[in-house]
């Protein structure tokens, strides 16, 4: 409504102007800034480039707004008189603003305002110019980004602005980045050998793949032998540090994969280790957990959108309960008839896994379901050295260790844990001591399944939630359990993390697929040496 009345008012003003005989098509304000803005509406890109240069030369603080609008495609001109205007979304109406006065022009219909088109070359120029302009901004974050932009653009024409900014800069971190940008420009474009050597020295202190590439370029192309040699040395030292950082990156990736494997395998370790039951439907329990997350988020989205960040906190116990209940049903319905026949259990649970997959496919369809990341899990810690630690990966590592810790507590410190261990060690004796081993079995299986469900909540954050989710993890989790040894949580921990780390360190050399093949072959060979895994149970229970 507001914009409509405003428009009416402007129409009146406009008609008055026309009535008074000021029907000229040029806008009213004619100062240096508005002329420069107006020049942006040029016919060819060469003229536009000149206009951008001129606008930034005005040093006017409004220039940044106009130029970034041009870059983002929100700078328009009015077809009737060629007046350059900014567009702004206000609610669902678009209003046009005169850049010189920052006042609204009129709400022009979409057909009347035409976008000022730019090409990629102009975009590059704009980014650089904007970088230089914001170098003088009051906000330290903006200055820092600008310094990085200038470094990436590496354009000698920015050197004067940059030097002015360095002189004014007080924040040491931002200053460092500005010096880096300056050094890069000097090293590449300066004629002065001493300055270039100094610049190379400065650059050598940073750890950044871009700098390594720049130094490498100079080392290869420079005609000055001194510069060439220093650039080479500096590149080597940067590369050395980069390698160390990439080692850390690999380590993180490996630990992250390990934590995923740990989550997927720890429930299996319980059912396999404690009960001797091969649960091939374990992957489907993980899948059910992921679908529970989807359901929980769906309810929260439609009824309590504000609580979305809490969705995982609700999904974890919900998934535990759902899959735990399914686990009890499965144990009482199928598995308890098959004790002592592990191979048959394997087949029956495989059949179960097929049915669960098809059930979910029938209910939810075969496509991936959308599961969102809560705000505290999205984003990443990034360093300038190319190391990226995403929050969801970090949280999953924490979560997997927490689950393992809780499980260790349950088995060591609770009555149920005691009974569980008693049944594992000697079922007949436990029975005669009054432990109802049937119920212990059912609860143990429920615990294993419930943990699989919680793993599903975590995996829904990093993987596609589809009926096939479980299939992708089942073989890997078996490898972890077999490698780590049965009936031992430490074995699962060590197994998961070593497989994860080995996998990720092989990947850069062998590629993802070949790396995985090596790991599988490695496990097959390892089993020959230690048929019962890293941490094997000893004594009588082995033959059971």
């Amino acid at each position: 409504m507001l914009s409509k009345t405003l428009a009416m008012r402007w129409l009146v003003v406009l008609s008055v102007f026309i009535g008074l005989g000021f029907g000229s098509s040029t806008p009213a304000h004619a100062d240096e800034f508005s002329d420069a803005v107006q020049a942006l509406n040029a016919d060819n890109n060469t003229d536009k480039a000149a206009a951008i240069e001129a606008l930034s030369a005005t040093g006017d603080e409004r220039a940044a707004t106009v130029l970034s609008a041009l870059l983002n495609g929100t700078l328009f001109y009015r077809q009737s008189d060629g007046l350059v205007v900014l567009s702004k979304e206000s609610g669902n109406v678009t209003i046009l603003i005169d850049p010189s006065t920052m006042n609204e022009v009129a709400d022009v219909s979409g057909s009347e305002a035409k976008k000022i088109r730019i090409n990629n070359k102009l975009r590059g120029q704009l980014k650089g110019v904007l970088g230089a302009l914001t170098l003088l901004s009051k906000d330290a974050d903006k200055r820092q980004n600008a310094a990085d932009e200038v470094f990436k653009a590496n354009d000698p024409s920015m050197l004067p602005v940059l030097q002015k900014a360095i002189a004014r800069e007080s924040d040491p971190d931002v200053k460092g980045r500005m010096l880096r940008a300056q050094a890069a420009i000097i090293l590449e474009y300066s004629e002065d050998t001493a300055a270039r050597l100094k610049a190379a020295q400065t650059l050598g202190e940073f750890t950044d793949p871009d700098i390594s590439a720049l130094l490498g370029k100079i080392a290869n192309t420079s005609t000055d032998p001194e510069v060439k040699k220093l650039a080479k040395d500096m590149q080597d030292s940067v590369e050395g540090r980069l390698a160390a950082w990439s080692f850390l990156g690999n380590l993180f990736q490996g630990v992250s994969l390990g934590s995923v494997l740990l989550l997927a395998a720890v429930g299996l370790a319980i059912t396999f280790g404690v009960m001797g039951v091969i649960n091939m439907a374990h992957g489907e329990m993980v899948m059910l957990g992921a679908y529970t997350t989807f359901m929980v988020q769906d309810v929260i989205r439609t009824h309590f959108p504000a609580a979305f960040d809490w969705s995982l906190a609700i999904a974890v116990p919900a998934a535990f309960l759902v899959t735990g209940a399914v686990g009890i049903l499965v144990e009482r319905g199928i598995i308890r008839w098959l004790y002592g026949r592990p191979l048959e259990t394997l087949l029956a649970t495989w059949g179960l896994s097929l049915m669960l997959q098809q059930l979910i496919r029938t209910l939810f369809g075969p496509t991936n379901q959308e599961v969102g990341n809560p705000s505290w899990m999205s984003g990443a810690i990034e360093t300038s050295t190319g190391l990226v630690l995403t929050y969801n990966r970090i949280w999953i590592i924490v979560f997997s260790l927490a689950v393992l810790g809780m499980l260790a507590l349950v088995t060591r410190k609770t009555m149920f844990g005691l009974q569980m261990r008693a049944v594992t060690q000697n079922r007949a004796m436990a029975n005669s001591m009054g432990i109802r081993s049937g119920w212990v079995d059912a609860l143990t299986f429920a615990l294993g399944s419930g943990i699989a469900g919680m793993a599903g909540v975590a995996l829904s954050q990093i993987d596609n939630v589809s009926p096939n989710l479980g299939q992708t993890y089942i073989i890997d989790s078996f490898m972890v359990v077999v490698f780590g040894g049965v009936g031992n949580l430490w074995g699962t921990l060590v197994g998961a993390f070593s497989l994860g780390i080995v996998n990720k360190f092989l990947e850069p050399y062998a590629g993802a697929v070949l790396g995985k093949i090596f790991v599988l072959v490695g496990i097959i060979l390892f089993i020959q040496k230690r048929p019962r895994g890293l941490f094997a149970l000893k004594g009588r229970s082995v033959e059971g």
Partner: protein
């Protein structure tokens, strides 16, 4: 233990007799009905049915091979699909070489996918596959050798039970990943296909289809006889002893690992032959044959039919695969429920499979007694019972 000739022993078993005679009859009858009758005759067997039945028969041979190790030696292999696929790839490589310059790129030296990947010359492991004899040797040798090496390591270090099952699964999974790679030189994801002929006879001709069907049926019969010979022999007794009490057999002085190795290798060779017969009938071999799910499915054919009997797996493979063809066509949603239910049902309620159910075994036991009386009337004369 009797020392009668193999055939005489089989003749006394009505179930085996019925199954084998049906197979042999079909081996001759189906091709005849297909080739000799005009296509509008009520008894004409369409060519696609011949090929479909031929495919089932190769599955039956595969099931037989799994039963030999699982039903008789207690080794649950979840990787037999790998041997099947390797046999199939060996056959496929021969047929790829037969295409010659009739491929899309018309390169006489290289198969199409290699031209596509810009390879300049044939990799060394493709040498020799243009000879049929060499390829047939490889059909037997490659799965056999893999099984021998794998078994050598696994059985010597006494990997048993579920651990063995899981590493056989790891083996086929690793091969699956490996064959997916284009650099392996086996056609990557797409595998080998577009086959034209074997020994100069076109694959699409009715005569070839009928021949392949005949060969498949006879391969099942031969496979049965071989397995029967093995399990009835002295060696077979030791193998069953290993299944029932491995440690005890070892303590009695038998080198358990060698017996296992022998059965495992023979079984892999059978699976390889099944694969080699399968590929020309379906016209393609690709890495999905290595997928662990496939190998587990074979086990359910055996479990449903009845492990530890040689007729069971053949029946199981035919029944399950017929059901699969029918339901995936008619009610695709239901098939996985059925297959899953089949796994659970047969492990819970049919530990001996279909042939082991009381109704069926009683019926055949009656037949057996009647036959025995007919053959040796004096033993069953009054008072002569229980010689």
């Amino acid at each position: 233990m009797t020392h009668q000739p193999l055939l005489l022993r089989i003749v006394k078993e009505p179930m085996a007799v019925s199954l084998l005679s049906v197979l042999i009859l079909a081996a001759f009858l189906v091709p005849m009905l297909n080739l000799m009758l005009p296509s509008d005759s009520a008894f004409h067997v369409p060519s696609y049915v011949v090929t479909l039945l031929g495919k089932y028969l190769t599955y039956a041979l595969l099931a037989l091979s799994v039963d030999l190790v699982w039903g008789y030696c207690g080794i649950l292999s979840l990787g037999h699909g790998a041997f099947f696929a390797l046999g199939g790839y060996a056959m496929g490589m021969y047929m790829m070489r037969q295409i010659g310059d009739r491929g899309v790129y018309g390169n006489a030296e290289l198969p199409d996918f290699m031209v596509f990947l810009n390879w300049q010359e044939l990799p060394w492991y493709w040498y020799g596959f243009d000879s049929f004899g060499f390829a047939m040797l490889m059909v037997v040798l490659v799965p056999g050798l893999l099984a021998f090496v794998f078994g050598w390591f696994a059985f010597r270090s006494r990997v048993t039970g579920v651990y063995l099952s899981i590493i056989t699964q790891a083996m086929t999974y690793a091969l699956l990943l490996a064959f997916f790679r284009n650099d392996m030189g086996f056609g990557g994801n797409n595998g080998l296909t577009d086959f034209k002929d074997i020994l100069g006879f076109g694959l699409q001709t009715d005569g070839m289809r009928a021949t392949l069907f005949f060969l498949s049926a006879m391969a099942v019969v031969t496979g049965y006889l071989v397995c029967r010979f093995i399990v009835d022999s002295r060696l077979g007794r030791v193998i069953v002893a290993i299944r029932d009490a491995e440690s005890r057999t070892r303590f009695l002085g038998y080198r358990v690992e060698y017996y296992k190795l022998f059965v495992f290798t023979v079984s892999a060779v059978l699976a390889g032959i099944a694969g080699a017969l399968y590929v020309p009938q379906v016209g393609i071999i690709n890495p999905s044959e290595f997928s662990p799910a496939n190998s587990i499915e074979i086990v359910i054919w055996v479990a449903l039919g009845g492990r530890g009997s040689l007729t069971g797996p053949i029946i199981g493979a035919l029944v399950v695969n017929y059901a699969k063809s029918y339901f995936t066509g008619a009610l695709p949603e239901v098939w996985l429920f059925m297959l899953g239910g089949l796994f659970i049902f047969s492990t819970l309620f049919l530990p001996k499979g279909l042939v082991g159910t009381k109704a069926i075994s009683d019926a055949f036991e009656e037949q057996r007694l009647r036959l025995a009386k007919f053959l040796r009337p004096y033993d069953y004369a009054e008072g002569g019972e229980g010689r």
